[in-house]
Structures are given as C-alpha cells and as structure tokens.
C-alpha cells in the first residue's frame, strides 16, 4: 500500500490543488482540504457551488483534471487500479437513496461484500443483519425498497454502505429528499455513527446536525472553499460576505 504519502501520513483524505472541469465549465477550483481520521466535516453552500462534485471526486465518481487526492494513504490517479481499492474503503450515501429496487433490503446489503470483498454468503448476511439492527430496521430485511418509507430507505442505504466496513463515509444531502417527519430518524442514525468515531464528510443544510456533530464546517461558493472553521465560530461569526448572506437565507 506504500504510495506517495506527503506530509500527514495519518490523514483520511488529502486533496491538493484539485481542479475539476465539466467540459468547459470550471466546477472546482484549487481545492485544498485535509480530513483527519475520525473527523466529521459538514459541507454547505448555495446550489451549484460544487458540494456534490467535491465529495464525488473523493471516490472518483468524477475524474479530476489536475491536483492529487489521497484517500487512506492511497493516492488516487484517474482510472488507475487504486480506484477499486479506494472505493472499497469509502462508503457513500446519496440524496436519492439509490437502493437496488429488484433486491430485498438484505440482498442490497449483501451484494457488495460478496462480490467485492469475497466474503461468504453466511458472513455477509450476518454483517448485513447487524447493520440493519444498528440503523434500527432489522424487521424490514426481507422487504423490497419500494415497500419502505423514504426515511427507512435512506437508513437501508446507510446500512448498505456500512456493510463494506468503510473507513470513510460520504453523504450527499442524505435528508433533502425526505418528508420533514423522516429527517430526524436519518439524522439520528448519522449522529450515532459519528459518535462511534467514523470519518464523515456530509453535504447538508441541516445546521442543527452541523452544530452537534461537525468538527469543521466548510462553506463553498462557485467551486471554491470560501470559508472553513469550527461550527461555533462558523455560525456565530462568519468571516466571508457570501457566507453571511447564505447563513442569513437558510436561517429564515
């Protein structure tokens, strides 16, 4: 696993001068970010500011044009074989859940461990049931996603990602497709997870969650990291004009 490991050998994620383009659109500009192991980071910012793009670059759902990304000590080069290694260590939860509709909840959770990690069926099932328990829906194991509420589906998605025993979890607006009454059940699950020491990068506008859980809050605008700080100072005393305006809007 030895790779070019720059300064902080122990960081979970290191992004250095990352630039991302969609054809002629400059989506991320000179991103520098180091995430320590066990750290919880909340990313916020206006729509289109590049939040999703940022976290999707980390497990290379998007390929970057320049810069380097190092995840768990492994440097990620575009399309290389390291991608597979890294994806095994990074779990991701999407806004739209993206559960596999033709598989039961249990099957959703067992697929990747069996096919990617090569664990036995019995072991995969055991792990899956354990994590379903942890997100508090063990009794839904044999249902299909369409039979669950949005909040339940998102918790399955979290369990599915956890079944791979990832070192880092990425969340892209995990609660914004949910009806208000289901937001909290998902946030609670995430708070549990945070308290157990998982490294987390979370795109969200749930500021209550950020205050409670985040070690750092990052504010993005127009593809740049505009401000970054501990939640206390970030919310009470933002430095940047755009941050102020934005926080003013979402406070309503």
């Amino acid at each position: 696993m030895s790779n070019v490991v720059p300064e902080n050998t122990d960081a979970a994620v290191i992004m250095r001068d990352v630039d991302k383009w969609y054809d002629s659109y400059h989506a991320l500009t000179a991103i520098n970010l180091t995430v320590a192991r066990g750290e919880k980071i909340v990313v916020c910012g206006p729509s289109g500011s590049g939040k999703s793009t940022l976290i999707r670059c980390i497990n290379q759902l998007e390929t970057i044009r320049s810069g380097t990304i190092t995840v768990d000590g492994i440097e990620l080069t575009n399309g290389g074989e390291n991608v597979d290694k890294i994806r095994r260590e990074v779990g991701m939860v999407f806004q739209q859940f993206n559960l596999f509709p033709h598989m039961t909840v249990l099957e959703n959770c067992m697929l990747a461990p069996i096919k990617v990690r090569g664990v036995s069926k019995a072991e995969a099932e055991q792990t899956a049931r354990r994590y379903l328990e942890r997100v508090r829906i063990p009794e839904q194991a044999d249902k299909y996603p369409a039979q669950l509420s949005g909040g339940q589906q998102q918790r399955v998605a979290i369990a599915r990602a956890l079944c791979m025993n990832p070192k880092i979890m990425l969340f892209d607006e995990p609660t914004s497709a949910l009806d208000p009454e289901m937001v909290n059940e998902v946030l609670d699950t995430m708070i549990d997870l945070a308290s157990e020491g998982m490294t987390m990068l979370v795109v969200t506008h749930e500021m209550g969650f950020a205050r409670k859980v985040a070690d750092r809050v990052i504010f993005m605008d127009k593809g740049e990291i505009v401000e970054m700080g501990e939640p206390e100072s970030f919310f009470s005393n933002p430095q940047n004009e755009r941050t102020k305006t934005f926080l003013g809007q979402i406070a309503h």
Binding site: N59, L61, D84, R87, R88, V90, G91, M92, F94, Q96, N98, L99, F100, P101, H102, L111, A112, K115, V116, A157, R160, A161, M164, L170
Partner: protein
C-alpha cells in the same frame, strides 16, 4: 399435375409453420446474443466499441433484410465458406435481429437511472458485477414488452427467406399456389397462420406495455 386445394395442401402449408418457428427461434437466439453484445458495446466506455456498434446498427437497420439474405447467401460461399441455406438464413436473420434488439436493449439499459450505476461504483462493484447484478436485471424488466413486440416483426421477417428458396410458411404457400392456382385460398390461409402466431404475441406485448405504463405512472 394440377391439384385442387384440399386438406393435404392445407396440411402442407400448416406443417411448414415448423420451419417458420424454427427460423424465428434461431434468429431470436442469435439476435439475443448479438443484440446483447451490441447493446453493451453501445453503452461501453470505449469509444471505438461504441462507434463500431453504431456502424453495425446503421448498416443493418439501413439496408433491406432481403439484400442481407442475398449477400450472406452468395457472399459467404464466394469467400470460400461453403454454407447451406440454413446457415445463410440463420446468419442473415441473426445479424438483422442483433441490430434491432441491440438498439431496443440499449434504450432499456439507458432507462435504468444513472444513480443505480453510481451506487454500484461507490460500493466498489466492477463492470461485470454491476451489469450482471444491478443494471441488466432492471433493464430486463423494462425490455420485455418491446422485445416481445420485436419477436412479431422477426416472425414475419422469416417470410423473406422464401426469396432465397427456403421452404417455410410463405414458400410453402407459393408452392401450393403454383400447383393449385387458387391464390385467394392459399394466401388467405398463409396469412391466417401468421396471424395466429403473431396476434397473441402482439396482444401480450401491448398488455405488458400498458402494465408497465401503469407501474411507472405512479
């Protein structure tokens, strides 16, 4: 030498349906394999593969099956591959079906939401597992109706093998017609046999389509 149209003649036509069915089955089986390859190539990440598949489709959807039959039949043997009628008919029909099924199935694969693939990537699934366990099963569900619809087209298309002399349903009709000179009776019977084969399939396809429309409407 002239016969009148009787039960024997009718039976001759009706039994020829087995060749039509066999040809359809071969074409469908061949087309399924080829079509899957074409569909996968069309959605592949490799540019050359995509363009190759697209050219294949352009050619085989852009030229008459009749010409494809002639070309394969005379062409392959000219190239020294001694082939018989069966091989020629099967090859041409397979190419034809591959092009159409490939396009149909590509559409179905692309209809599977991109989030499904992204979730698979994020879980670390490789191309083969992603296709096999996530994308294709979902695409398959969408594809049933248009595939059954195409099967009807394929059954009818086998009638063209009569032009290179293959004795299936249509050709049997022609032969009986040549012996009895009762075209009205003969071609009505032939048409009726095709109808009996195809109509239930058409209805089934329509049923599946409407069921799917209802399923997606929610």
């Amino acid at each position: 030498m002239f016969r009148s149209f009787g039960p024997n003649e009718a039976l001759y036509i009706i039994t020829a349906v087995q060749w039509t069915l066999l040809l359809s089955a071969i074409a469908f089986a061949g087309g399924a394999v080829g079509g899957m390859a074409i569909a996968l190539a069309r959605v592949s990440a490799i540019k050359t593969l995509r363009y190759a598949a697209l050219s294949f489709i352009r050619v085989f959807q852009g030229t008459p099956l009749l010409m494809q039959l002639f070309l394969v039949y005379f062409g392959l043997s000219i190239m020294g591959v001694g082939i018989n009628l069966w091989v020629a008919a099967a090859a041409a029909l397979t190419l034809h079906a591959s092009a159409y099924l490939g396009e149909i199935w590509r559409g179905c694969i692309e209809a599977v939401p991109a989030g499904q693939s992204e979730a698979s990537y994020a879980l670390g699934l490789k191309y083969g597992d992603r296709m096999r366990y996530v994308v294709l099963p979902q695409a398959a569900k969408i594809s049933v109706a248009p595939t059954v619809g195409f099967l009807v087209q394929l059954i009818k298309a086998t009638s063209l093998t009569s032009i290179i002399g293959f004795v299936e349903l249509t050709r049997a009709g022609q032969i009986i017609n040549n012996a009895t000179f009762q075209p009205l009776t003969v071609f009505s019977l032939v048409a009726a046999v095709y109808f009996v084969l195809c109509w239930p399939l058409s209805m089934w396809a329509r049923h599946l389509e409407s069921r799917f429309a209802v399923a997606t409407a929610r």
